[in-house]
């Protein structure tokens, strides 16, 4: 009996030892700050004078008076509907294309994948140049073939489409995931469908799609979660296009042009680090947390269903 209990105790100690870095990490860098954020969301605190209780004032401010909150939420919705959808469709299309290419497959795969690796700041600055309305090559080419030349990052109705183009350029991650899942589709099913006289579209509709639908769902849900974290690209694009960059002391009001590139993570920075409104920033952080967790639970559900099936 004692030996069994000793063995059990030893195993528990061993498990704790292996998990210890994570136990410390999750407590100090996740649970503690999360509780602290809830606390600050009810406090008035500018980072200098001691915090004082304000009840729901911060929440009320963010939802009714903070002029950036609703535009940021609307932009997030736009990005989820347009950018995520286009990324999934384009990723699937490029994945399909690469599985069909016979000549130069290695070259095409590398060419399609490389932009995904470009560091976000560098890629965004590159697109701010490519799409700049004055001297940018894209408008240059559009002009020379007689097409309209949009203002892209300088025009509130074109800034999100411009960001979408940047997101489509970096499709490499989805391409690889779709490519792998397309190659996993059993070849016999295609042969059987062909024998039954199915055309290319019917083979795609009744063989390919059912086989890869879990991956499509995975791509959509992770795309939505990534949209909740969308920070660097819209911020840098706004900064470069507005011309307000760099140097300490120069304050950039996010969202240029006309709040069209605002996203929720930028609001945490704006309230917390530019306006020293710790309470308001905490409220935004909690909204962001709630949204991210809803989709994460959804993702975990679909993942467990997939491994159960």
């Amino acid at each position: 009996m004692t030996t069994l209990r000793q063995k059990h105790r030893r195993e528990t100690a061993r498990t704790l030892a292996f998990l210890s870095p994570w136990l410390i990490g999750v407590s100090v860098f996740f649970l503690y700050p999360l509780v602290s954020t809830v606390y600050f969301s009810f406090m008035k605190y500018d980072g200098f004078t001691p915090p004082t209780w304000t009840g729901l004032k911060n929440w009320q401010y963010v939802f009714t008076d903070y002029p950036f909150f609703w535009p940021a939420l609307r932009n997030t919705l736009w990005l989820v509907v347009v950018m995520v959808t286009l990324r999934v469709l384009f990723g699937l299309g490029i994945g399909l294309l690469i599985t069909k290419v016979k000549t130069g497959a290695g070259f095409f795969r590398t060419a399609f994948y490389l932009p995904y690796l470009a560091p976000p700041v560098a890629a965004t600055m590159a697109f701010a140049f490519l799409l700049n309305p004055g001297t940018g090559p894209v408008n240059n080419i559009l002009g020379s073939i007689g097409l309209p030349q949009p203002g892209w990052f300088n025009d509130p109705s074109w800034s999100k489409p411009a960001l979408t183009m940047l997101a489509l350029w970096g499709i490499g991650d989805l391409m690889v995931i779709f490519m792998a899942s397309l190659l996993d589709v059993p070849q016999e099913q295609y042969e059987a469908a062909s024998l039954d006289g199915a055309g290319a579209w019917q083979r795609f509709r009744f063989v390919t799609l059912p086989n890869i639908s879990p991956i499509v769902l995975f791509a959509v849900v992770t795309g939505v979660i990534q949209t909740m974290q969308y920070y660097t690209q819209p911020l840098v694009a706004g900064k470069v296009a507005s011309g307000v960059i760099g140097g300490a002391g120069q304050q950039f009001e996010p969202g240029y042009p006309e709040k069209s590139t605002l996203t929720l993570p930028q609001l945490v920075y704006h309230l917390g680090f530019q306006r020293f409104d710790t309470g308001g920033a905490s409220v935004i952080a909690l909204v962001l947390f709630a949204l991210a967790m809803v989709f994460t639970v959804f993702l975990m559900r679909s993942m467990t269903e997939r491994s159960a099936a």
Binding site: L19, P120, A126, F129, N140, I177, V268, F289
Partner: protein
């Protein structure tokens, strides 16, 4: 019909000829699409490159092709005050961060893949939740913690130290891979008198090399690309800036001069792309591991 086809292989039956023509048209269609797509992916790099080598005057025009090639632009960027410091800082952040992440995350991933213990599913769910968490959610208290209590703002340590306490994504990816290693290997080692830790180091780690390489690459790229972290903790002190953060100030210093900005952009992209060519296989395996084998 078949007899003629066999006796004279050169003259094809009409059916075979149409089949061959369809296959050829299909080939042309697929490859034209692929070339069009390749233009979309490659042309931005070409334009960045061409503009980076233009003269100051020409970079202000709508020209696409440089009149003369100004390779010295790359050197001008390289010799800009601060640029070399940003390089060193980025390498420190990415190098040390990656090493610490591996050291701390491997035992945790191993425990999650191998040990049976109460609360294992809770741990796994928390790992996935923190993996999906936008870093902005906890940034306010974290900043107060590092800046007001530990007085470490103006350095990169608030970004490096947490990696000694695991990174959720790395734990998850490593666990997914370790699950695929048969338990028998570890059991055999234990019969031979290895402890659990020894079995991990001697038997499991050598087998997990592809996953470890993928995690190391992802983490290195994450640090290299990180903009938000250095913006929060290092912005007040240019001596602590990284390339990703410093790059932006380049545009500020050179106003509308796109040539030097694009030259700097090239120099920030280049190492990542070179690293990719050396480690292509590990990288693509890693992406597949996160997505498909969920």
């Amino acid at each position: 019909m078949t007899a003629t086809a066999i006796s004279s292989p050169v003259t094809l039956t009409p059916a075979a000829r149409t089949a061959r023509r369809t296959r050829f048209l299909h080939w042309v269609g697929v490859h034209s699409l692929a070339i069009a797509a390749a233009l979309f992916f490659v042309l931005p790099f070409v334009f960045i490159f061409l503009t980076a080598l233009m003269s100051d005057q020409q970079a202000l025009t709508r020209d696409l092709w440089p009149d003369s090639w100004h390779w010295e632009n790359l050197r001008t960027v390289w010799e800009t005050p601060g640029f070399l410091t940003w390089w060193k800082n980025t390498l420190l952040y990415a190098g040390l961060g990656t090493a610490l992440t591996l050291l701390s995350s491997i035992p945790v991933a191993y425990a999650l893949a191998r040990f049976k213990f109460r609360g294992r599913n809770v741990v796994l769910m928390l790992v996935i939740a923190t993996m999906m968490l936008p870093p902005q959610v906890v940034i306010v208290p974290m900043y107060l913690f590092w800046a007001k209590q530990l007085h470490l703002s103006g350095t990169l340590w608030p970004l490096i130290i947490p990696m000694a306490f695991t990174d959720a994504f790395s734990v998850f990816l490593l666990r997914q891979f370790l699950l695929t290693i048969p338990k028998d290997y570890v059991d055999a080692a234990k019969v031979d008198g290895c402890g659990e830790f020894k079995a991990l180091v001697r038997i499991v780690l050598p087998m997990a090399k592809p996953a470890i390489a993928a995690v190391a690459l992802f983490q290195f790229f994450y640090c290299w690309n990180d903009y938000f972290g250095p913006q929060i903790y290092a912005s007040e002190n240019p001596a602590a800036w990284t390339l990703s953060y410093g790059l932006e100030s380049f545009k500020g210093a050179h106003h509308t001069n796109w040539n030097l900005t694009m030259a700097a952009t090239l120099l920030v992209m280049a190492p990542v792309i070179i690293l990719f060519f050396f480690a292509q296989k590990a990288f693509i395996e890693g992406v597949t591991l996160t997505g498909v084998k969920g």
